[in-house]
């Protein structure tokens, strides 16, 4: 009998060996009581654990995992430039329409239709990027233009609450 193929015995039991190598190990195992016993143990271990860990339960849904794993996409650099360009406009509008009002009044719940200030291409493109654009414009609008339409803005941005941004902007 050849030397015991200790290193290959587990591969043999798993069925990972093929061809001449598998045949060689099989010949040895058939003629070696020690390896036969070890092979039987290896199979017994696998079967016991296989049954012990078996489950029929469905997996957690992939969509949930993916949504949790997806980090917020950064605002594109050109969006940042656009945001900065809009800032003076927002300030001008604010001074025109709200400037004379006390700060306390600005803190009142403000409603804005974000669609008035966000280019349609943002809203029709990537959802996350669009959401970021809407948030930026919406925050600007909160300090600039207390016009009706907050409900509409909330309906545009569905994956990120605007209420915290709104209150932060008004302060």
């Amino acid at each position: 009998v050849s030397a015991c193929p200790e290193d290959r015995l587990e591969d043999f039991v798993r069925g990972d060996l093929v061809g001449a190598e598998a045949a060689s190990v099989r010949r040895h195992v058939d003629g070696c009581a020690s390896c036969t016993g070890e092979a039987q143990w290896l199979m017994r271990e696998r079967e016991a654990l296989s049954v012990a860990l078996f489950t029929r339960d469905p997996l957690p849904p992939a969509a949930r995992v993916l949504s949790l794993a997806a980090p917020p996409r950064p605002v594109a650099s050109w969006l940042g430039v656009l945001s900065l360009a809009l800032a003076p406009v927002a300030a001008l509008v604010a001074i025109t329409f709200v400037g004379a009002r006390p700060i306390a009044e600005v803190r009142e719940p403000v409603v804005v239709d974000a669609r008035d200030v966000v280019p349609a291409c943002f809203l029709g493109g990537d959802a996350t990027e669009g959401a970021n654009a809407v948030e930026l414009a919406y925050a600007a609008c909160l300090v600039a233009s207390p016009r009706p339409g907050r409900a509409a803005a909330d309906s545009i941005v569905t994956d990120r609450p605007l209420s915290s941004l709104g209150s932060e902007a008004c302060e």
Partner: protein
């Protein structure tokens, strides 16, 4: 009126660049990775944590972490051992968070428990295997599962566990001794 709050929001949003997506794969590709490997990860966590609910939570957490760090994986061939390595860390954190004793981690639950009825149904070996797993240290338990149930090489186990290959072999061997003792009905004597 000031635009400062508006600018601060802008800074906050752009600062998220620090957490830029680590993976360049699209959502469909990530979904395929999940579908392919999640059963294996959950099974591993089931073996480590015992509870099916904890295994589900751990599976979700494992993939959330993995997808955020996917770009750090240089060798795609190592994806499965890499995922299982993350799962092991998730399991360890879950155990610490719950302040569970090792002996409680794999306590039988519900219909998986080792009851006379389950023995009659031919699940005695499975019950003994669960008992054996519960009696092992978390690391040794993980090594045993990675070797026998997930068929990782000793090199892959060493990689996933942060061990040397010889240590991986020794730990698996010692865990096997315990498992076989339990399967032989001699678990309590060791």
């Amino acid at each position: 009126v000031t635009v400062a709050p508006w600018l601060s929001i802008h800074v906050a949003l752009t600062a998220r660049d620090d957490e830029a997506p680590a993976c360049a794969l699209d959502r469909a590709s990530l979904g395929r990775i999940y579908e392919e490997h999640a059963p294996s990860v959950r099974r591993f966590l089931r073996g480590l944590l015992g509870s099916a609910a904890a295994a589900d939570d751990g599976t979700q957490e494992t993939f959330v972490r993995a997808f955020r760090k996917l770009a750090t994986l240089r060798d795609g061939q190592r994806l499965r051992p890499w995922l299982l390595g993350i799962a092991r860390l998730v399991a360890m954190e879950a155990c610490r968070a719950r302040k569970r004793l090792v002996s409680e981690v794999l306590a039988p639950e519900g219909e998986d428990g080792c009851t006379p009825e389950s023995s009659l149904l031919g699940a005695e070996a499975a019950c003994r295997a669960r008992d054996a797993l519960a009696s092992l240290s978390p690391d040794r338990r993980a090594a045993l599962l990675l070797r026998i149930d997930h068929e990782l090489s000793y090199e892959e186990i060493a990689d996933a566990m942060g061990w040397s290959t010889p240590k991986a072999k020794i730990e698996v061997h010692r865990a096997r001794v315990v498992l076989r003792a339990h399967l032989d009905g001699d678990g309590g004597a060791r």
